[in-house]
Symmetry: C2
Subunit: 92 residues, 2 copies
């Protein structure tokens, strides 16, 4: 099993109302220093080792992202790399 991460973001030229709402909320709440926020989707897939990169790209571009409005990056991660799935939420 390999772990594959797909990060999806609205294209730069596409309005991002979710991100803008977060950025405005930060301003209202007194958070300083954040100039811009863009919000997208973060997928973590557990994939058989035999699945080739081309198939992962096809899955991302047809099932996880909308190519008309979104951009995406596919990356395989090693077990050593920390992901949100691995790190206990002890930050709070």
């Amino acid at each position: 099993m390999a772990r594959v991460i797909v990060d999806v973001l609205p294209k730069a030229e596409i309005l991002d109302p979710q991100g803008q709402a977060v950025a405005r909320a930060m301003g209202r709440l007194g958070v300083a220093g954040v100039a811009d926020v863009r919000q997208g989707k973060h997928f973590v897939l557990e994939v058989d080792d035999e699945v080739p990169d081309a198939e992962l790209e096809r899955i991302a571009g047809t099932l996880l992202a909308n190519p008309v409005m979104e951009e995406w990056v596919v990356r395989r991660v090693s077990d050593a790399e920390a992901t949100a799935a691995d790190v206990p939420g002890t930050h709070a």
Copy 2:
């Protein structure tokens, strides 16, 4: 300006209906080799260089993630690192 990425995922012990829906849809569509999908949020922040890591953690844990149900990872990215925001969606 620094670019900061915050990836948010439902905690491992929390049901992830979005990810499960994606995984089931893949099965129906004949995509083989994907054993599990978890879906979360991907934030890209443009932040002043003076903002310390502790403040970024506070922002992530109070405004971007719900610490009761979600885990998150905060990372500063160099300009050299590819993010979905930089890569044209020419995969399709």
